[in-house]
Symmetry: C2
Subunit: 407 residues, 2 copies
């Protein structure tokens, strides 16, 4: 069975003016691929009626199936509904059920249901609607003998909510999809070229696996496409064996979520003391809802005074070894662990740049210490990249050090 | 003079698979607009030769001017150079000067200059090259009577480096550009609809100004296009008057940079105590290189123990008012200010959700306190949105409270 193809059209003048970054195309492409629909092309289109009509028309002629995001708002510059009606030669009418829903929604939010708000109840005749659990504009499906056009709102939260609740289901029911056998393996600890070398023998034995390397700052995701569920299981087994401890999860979970669950399962807790990362590690841990069950708190000891006052780092250690040293990282980890009474304490100190380097301490030099009940592990890194990249890599390295310690 | 138009083509299978997010299109569109070139359309294209050729061919036919990003690497799936040569009916040849440059570069990095690396010296005959200060692949310019095609690498750092050093200059020399009179005004404190209402009278008097509202989490940027430099100056004057203290900068500067400079100029310093934001405010302050001159450190007091142990918040205050209360925010701000001996102390406590709400304390409730030498200001917010959005808005609100206090 041939793979189902789709084109995406992302609508909005502000995208073309570089004033907004699109996050919808990649999110949607990823979700569609997971149900066996691959994206052939993505076009960013302006709000201009004529221009948008041409783009949608050509995309429909090429693939017969287009999903658009954006231009479903109530204001005059949102013309996607009208363009779609025109392309399918349907008239726009006021959908009574939708009108009632919108009126109710306005009442609940205490907003006026005026003439402008009412325009959102206008849909092309014969369209199917996909309920929007997160906002006003529903998804709209238009079909004829050879073409399917699905309109989604451009607000990411609403687009995602419609996709997850109604669109995926609709697509599975209305298209004959070849199941996609995709495996997402998330790793940390080895760089892309290293992974490629380790994986080569597996790919030689399983030449029908397709592997994509997706480097993130501080880790590499592997996306593996297998031709069947059986091959997918085989691939998982083989790759797990080869990636060993560098594989931290199968699927979408974030490293901080994985580490948090490990802490929880082992009845452990963590506190952090950060210098160059300046709170990024703490923020990453708190990203996970419910993290208060294992994350006790942290100190951003950006100044020497903070290191002494809040963590009890001895001034002698600071003077003798300098703020960026394995000794200070150790004292930070131990200090925060003791003060917050956590089972694990992490200390990070380093030079994120662009300034601050010395002859012996280059930009990118970072010490990370992990203190637990009866031991302290300290690792030294020299990370490449700019200030932001060095700090992000430090956060990942610290989470990974904790993960390996919990294994 | 009519505005110069361009189409962008962003190349890479991983973009279409949703595995990578594109950041090049918006960055490039923004820079091009600032020199008077507006982007008419953006297409994400696959690495497939035939598909890419069709996309570039059609884009060139529509606007006569296309810039592409991606597909200039040395491996077999990178075919942009070959497609471009084919479209302009030129052969690919090995450019000796480029070959020498690449060989030198490899030597410097200690890499092997093998057959694969050599392919990057292949360029279409008659092409002009734009030097790449950050990597191997130069930008490539192909021209005939009616068409200009510019190929840039897809690695964001390299694309940006070429654009800033060589491309902008090339474009200014080779195109007749109408100067673009764009004003970026960044505001915090008023929502989009509120700003629109305040601005309406100005737009009535200056109907040739084009205004775009760009809501960021916690603030709104206004992008104003004026027809002339004189009108742009007038607009700046009018908008400054109307936006008052909500306008925090003209241009691209981040709020944390603006606040940092204010602290520096006034010889002041800040320390922060964060609960629900969990280190995000500290991390945002540390984003700015050189922030150690005014940011002394912070405490992430995610647990009550951390609030007591690291900040000296009295257990009685926690018991009586609860961790999310104006009293605790105040005690946190005062505690961190005192411990780190800073002139300003900020305390943030709130409920970021999804759990943790009570009958009287909803998700989104956040207290922010600012302690200075002789006073404490406390603000209460109920922010909309999800966990991430509530935390980001809290950070912006805290920075803004500090900014207004410093004015």
């Amino acid at each position: 069975m041939p793979e189902q193809k789709v084109e995406l059209v992302v609508i909005g003048d502000e995208l073309l003016a570089g004033a907004l970054k699109d996050a919808n195309a990649s999110w949607l492409a990823d979700r569609l691929l997971s149900i066996g629909i691959s994206v052939l092309r993505v076009t960013f289109a302006s709000d201009d009626f004529k221009e948008l009509k041409e783009i949608l028309d050509q995309a429909l002629a090429r693939t017969g199936f287009v999903i658009s995001c954006g231009g479903l708002g109530p204001t005059a510059d949102d013309c996607t509904r009208a363009v779609a009606a025109d392309l399918f030669d349907r008239e726009l009418y006021t959908n009574k059920r939708l009108l009632n829903l919108l009126a109710e929604r306005c009442k609940k939010l205490g907003r006026r249901f005026d003439r402008i708000a009412r325009t959102q109840a206008q849909v092309p005749r014969g369209a199917a609607l996909l309920a929007n659990p997160a906002g006003a504009a529903p998804g709209i499906v238009l079909k004829d003998e050879s073409r399917t056009l699905i309109l989604l709102p451009g607000v990411p939260g609403q687009m995602q909510a419609i996709t997850q609740t109604a669109l995926i289901e609709y697509l599975k029911e209305n298209f004959t999809l070849s199941v996609s056998h995709i495996l997402l393996l998330r790793t940390v600890g080895a760089v892309e070229t290293e992974l490629a070398q380790r994986i080569r023998p597996v790919l030689a034995r399983f030449p029908d696996l397709k592997v994509a390397y997706l480097p993130k700052s501080g880790g590499v995701d592997l996306r593996i496409q297998a031709p069947s569920e059986r091959k997918k299981s085989q691939a998982l087994k083989e790759f797990s064996r080869i990636l060993e401890d560098d594989l931290y999860t199968v699927g979408r979970e974030d490293l901080s979520l994985v580490v948090g669950r490990m802490l929880l399962n082992r009845g452990q807790s963590v506190a952090v003391a950060e210098s160059c990362t300046g709170g990024m590690l703490a923020a990453r841990l708190v990203d996970v809802a419910g993290s208060s069950r294992y994350f006790l708190g942290g100190v951003v000891s950006y100044s020497n005074r903070a290191k002494q006052e809040l963590l009890g780092v001895a001034s002698g250690v600071l003077e003798l070894h300098g703020a960026v040293s394995s000794q200070v990282a150790k004292a930070m980890a131990e200090g925060v662990r003791e003060r917050l009474n956590s089972t694990c304490g992490i200390g990070i100190t380093g030079i994120a740049g662009p300034g601050g380097a010395t002859r012996t301490k280059p930009v990118g030099l970072v010490y990370i210490a992990l203190a637990s009940q009866d031991s302290v592990r300290i690792k030294r890194f020299v990370f490449p990249g700019d200030r932001s990249s060095i700090r992000q890599r430090s956060v990942i390295a610290a989470l990974d050090l904790l993960r390996r310690n919990l294994m």
